[in-house]
């Protein structure tokens, strides 16, 4: 066990855990941030996507010891009022079915748009390919990303 001080959603928080503990479980079990989801535990489904210094990262295989002072953002901290353009576009398109994969999809989409504000269809598909949706909401996700992109650039 060791103590790590993480900056999560702008707040510094200390946790006492095994250094190998994936950030996913630190968030869910220790910091009560359960918006980040567990889907596979092996960086294959994207449900656990968070931002580490703004970069979309799979938290299920990211040991807490590797984070250091990098800033962690989770779905709960993506925006203060839940009004990030991506979140708004998701609501406008009524994207979710079961909803379980959507936090990961949103975090990945938000990272894509901050890097590539006007992505082509192909760029969207490539960037989002690591996020599985068993309910099959892919067409709506793409449409929502385009709406968010339009609103971001308006």
């Amino acid at each position: 066990m060791a103590t790590f001080t993480l900056t999560v959603n702008g707040k510094k928080q200390a946790v006492d855990v095994d250094p190998n503990t994936p950030v996913l479980w630190v968030l869910r079990d220790h910091l009560n941030l359960v918006g980040t989801k567990f889907g596979c535990g092996m960086a294959q489904c994207g449900a656990c996507t968070i931002h580490v210094d703004g970069v979309a990262t799979r938290s299920c295989m990211l040991p807490v010891s590797s984070v250091g002072d990098q800033k962690v953002t989770t779905i709960e901290g993506l925006s203060e009022k839940g009004d990030h353009p991506v979140q708004k576009a998701w609501l406008e398109h009524d994207v979710p079915q079961c909803g379980y994969c959507q936090a990961g999809q949103i975090m990945n989409a938000a990272a894509l748009l901050s890097e590539t504000p006007n992505p082509t269809d192909e760029q969207i598909e490539t960037a989002m390919n690591g996020n599985i949706c068993r309910c099959g909401t892919y067409v709506r996700i793409k449409a929502a990303i385009k709406t968010a992109s339009k609103n971001l650039n308006a």
């Binding site: 918006g35 449900a47 959507q102 068993r134």
Partner: protein, 748 residues
């Protein structure tokens, strides 16, 4: 206007959940469902419960209970819409709460068979209409006017003649004292204001902001985490446990074995005991428990042939043979070939043997599909807190009514001491019909005498069983010299269940018809998977009909319509389970909406249509070829599911079902080596991804006044036929065996 007898008592909602308000930590109120976001509205000082489905606040806010499990089929929005419609309430004043299991108030709290809306169509509307009548009675009494003269609109009561009006909030307290009417009138369809209009997901805001909603998110003070270890292969059971190392690991509270069911227990259809004895690790946190489980040293042994008795969904008791031995996918093909030779005749019309002898042309083809794992994105999990006199369970389950019985039997508690609360569920697809994980969680909690959350990893989930069975079907068609279909023969079966629906199309449309069914036993456990059996047989049959149409030199839509014309006007046989007219309707709709028959550069098309779960769906798929690879440019869907309650969500569900069908046919499959699944996570088990998804999907609903029918399942089966038929047009190659990717094609 439909008059109906009410079946709602005065105070039916007696069993208020103990979890009300206190379930989640983080100041999240368990019951504060949804819409409008509870932090943005002022809560009433007092609620008045008019019946078990709804209560009205003194400020006009209305809480509507959503009785059925929400697995992504959107019933948490669409079922309350039915109540709100007849209550005549303004939707923006509605808060939705997930109801706990309560069989004294709600009927059929089950998510399965695409039945929630059709079964709730009358009861939910009745609940709304009953409350509306009580409000009108209250207003009539208060104003001293006849009740017939009281009208309502958008949460308001009016008496036109005197110009009096009041809000529902103002009249709620008086309404709560009014007798429940014996009979109520339901609205005419033409008066609907909410049904048939698009209403966004009531949990949308919570989903996109990552609020706790799902079973895995649930927490209680003092809660421990548990995981199980099950045998690595079907056909094996636990022999010995060495837990000395695991016990000594940090954060570990206990390691022990459990039997999920008692020795002489008569299973229900939704019980699963492919692995009767499990090893359990309990500890403080997920990561600690995961690590300790890896340190277990477990030995397994093979079990022998045995028989179990189980009740079916319909309540009859059946004996099921469970063979011993470790099975291999390579042998399954042989097993199926042998079993298909001793098939039973399920339906026979005319003289099929004779027509096959004299036919001008005979087409014969075989189709197969592998086992599939459900892979809901949220793996199996459940919370349990069992004390000496009661059991509290919280989590994702499609069959709370049934599981309550299993838990009661296992714990030796009466049914009324079992409390089941449903969370939002990260997918169902049939997997959460089989609630062994509730029983496991309950047994674990009882044993450690503490609240516990049982968590499955993806690997646990994918290797536990309850798979979609492996299937095989052989079709034979006889054409006469005028290319008329004069004989049809299907021989279908599976390991261990048959996919045959002998009385569906083309039964009724062909003079000489033979349907045969067989099964082959297995110790690999199976269960319902989105559109059970239809999910295979539709694709097989619709691919085959495409080949028969081609052999007959006919357009595939025209060919089907001609057959359906026969089924409509001069049906063969006594019992045909589909309405030919509605199947024709979706084919005609998809034909016109897709501009079928119009040539487009580099677009290759396939069509398919199928009936299941009382609904009718037809698909046309447009494939484009790029660098020798097919790509789904567009999916056109025509759907007849009766009245569409919530178009935006219904469209989403049809899109999702189409993507899901294409994905499974193309990529997914579970194979076995010595009883062990070869795929246990998404590195090897393929699900469709963004790049492979259709570029566009168009959904068209048939305008209808028929009461609503299923929608969660019907769009899945037919899309597979349309895909196979479009692939043939694009590549010249027919596909007979799923996943088609195994035949070296990728979508991209």
């Amino acid at each position: 206007m439909t008059k109906m007898k009410t079946s709602i008592g005065r105070r039916t909602f007696l069993k208020t959940s103990a979890l009300a308000g206190g379930g989640f930590m983080l100041s999240f109120s368990w019951l504060a469902g949804c819409k409008p976001a509870p932090d943005m509205v002022e809560l009433p000082k007092e609620w008045f419960e008019l019946n078990g489905y709804l209560k009205i606040g003194d400020n006009g806010l209305v809480t509507i209970m959503s009785p059925n499990p929400e697995i992504g089929q959107n019933v948490k929005t669409s079922m309350p819409m039915l109540v709100a419609e007849e209550l005549d309430v303004d939707w923006k004043n509605v808060i939705v709460e997930q109801a706990p299991l309560n069989t004294s108030v709600f009927t059929r709290q089950l998510a399965g068979g695409s039945q929630s809306i059709s079964q709730g169509w009358k009861s939910l509307r009745m609940a709304g209409a009953t409350a509306r009548n009580m409000l009108r009675e209250a207003a009539a009494k208060t104003w001293g006017v006849p009740v017939d003269e009281i009208t309502t609109e958008a949460s308001m009561l009016y008496h036109k003649a005197s110009g009096k009006s009041a809000s529902y909030g103002e009249m709620a307290s008086a309404a709560a004292k009014v007798e429940v009417p014996k009979e109520v009138e339901l609205k005419n369809n033409s008066d609907f204001k909410i049904i048939g209009t698009s209403r966004n997901n009531v949990d949308g805001k919570k989903i996109v902001t990552g609020q706790p909603l799902f079973g895995l998110d649930y927490k209680q003070q003092g809660m421990l985490i548990a995981m199980i270890a099950h045998p690595p292969a079907f056909g094996m059971r636990l022999k010995s446990v060495d837990d000395s190392q695991a016990r000594a690991m940090p954060g570990i509270k206990d390691v022990f074995t459990i039997k999920t069911y008692p020795e002489d227990y008569a299973q229900q259809w939704c019980d699963v005991d492919s692995f009767p004895e499990l090893v359990v690790v309990v500890g403080n946190t997920t990561w600690e428990v995961m690590n300790a489980r890896k340190a277990l040293k477990l030995e397994w042994e093979q079990f022998q042939d045995h028989e179990i008795s189980s009740s079916t969904f319909w309540g009859t008791t059946v004996k099921i043979k469970v063979p011993g031995g470790l099975e291999n996918s390579a042998q399954h093909n042989q097993v199926m070939a042998t079993a298909s030779k001793s098939a039973k005749v399920v339906r026979k019309d005319g003289n099929p043997e004779a027509v096959f002898k004299k036919a001008a042309k005979v087409v014969e083809r075989s189709y197969s599909a592998p086992f599939l794992a459900h892979n809901t994105m949220e793996p199996m999990n459940f919370f349990a807190n069992v004390t000496s006199d009661k059991a509290e369970l919280v989590g994702p389950i499609q069959t709370p009514e049934f599981m309550e019985k299993s838990i009661a039997a296992r714990l030796g508690l009466p049914l009324e001491k079992i409390d089941i609360q449903m969370t939002r569920q990260g997918g169902g697809f049939g997997r959460r019909l089989y609630g062994h994980f509730l029983v496991e969680a309950a047994v674990i909690s009882q044993k450690i005498n503490a609240p516990v959350k049982l968590i499955y990893t993806r690997e646990d989930d994918m290797s536990f069983g309850v798979y979609r069975p492996a299937y095989h079907a052989r079709y034979k068609a006889a054409l006469d010299e005028n290319n008329k279909l004069i004989g049809f023969h299907v021989n279908a079966g599976g390991i261990p269940e048959s996919p045959l629906f002998a009385n569906r199309f083309p039964a009724g449309a062909v003079e000489n018809y033979l349907a045969e069914s067989w099964t082959a036993p297995s110790n690999i456990s199976v269960g319902a998977f989105r559109a059970p059996a239809s999910n295979f047989i539709a694709g097989a049959e619709q691919s085959f009909l495409d080949e028969v149409a081609e052999a007959a030199g006919k357009d595939p839509i025209q060919f089907r319509l001609e057959l359906l014309d026969r089924a409509l006007n001069n049906p063969v046989g006594e019992r045909n389970d589909y309405e030919a007219k509605r199947l024709m309707g979706v084919l005609e709709l998809v034909r016109s909406k897709s501009n079928w028959g119009q040539d487009m550069p580099n677009i290759h098309r396939g069509v398919s249509a199928y009936f299941c779960h009382d609904s009718y769906v037809a698909h046309v798929i447009d494939l484009a070829m790029e660098n020798g690879k097919p790509r789904v440019e567009k999916v056109h869907c025509a759907v007849d599911c009766g009245i569409v309650v919530n178009p935006i969500a219904a469209t989403n569900l049809v899109e999702g079902g189409s993507v899901d069908g294409i994905g499974h046919a193309m990529y997914s499959g579970l194979t076995f080596t010595n009883g062990t699944p070869d795929q246990t996570n998404f590195n090897k088990y393929r699900l469709i991804r963004h790049k492979e998804a259709p570029k566009a999907i168009e959904v068209h609903f048939v305008e209808s006044t028929v009461d609503p029918t299923g929608l969660g399942e019907p769009p899945f089966p037919p899309v597979i036929g349309a895909l196979a038929n479009a692939l043939y047009k694009a590549t010249g190659k027919r596909h007979y065996s799923q996943p088609y990717l195994g035949e070296t094609i990728t979508l991209g």
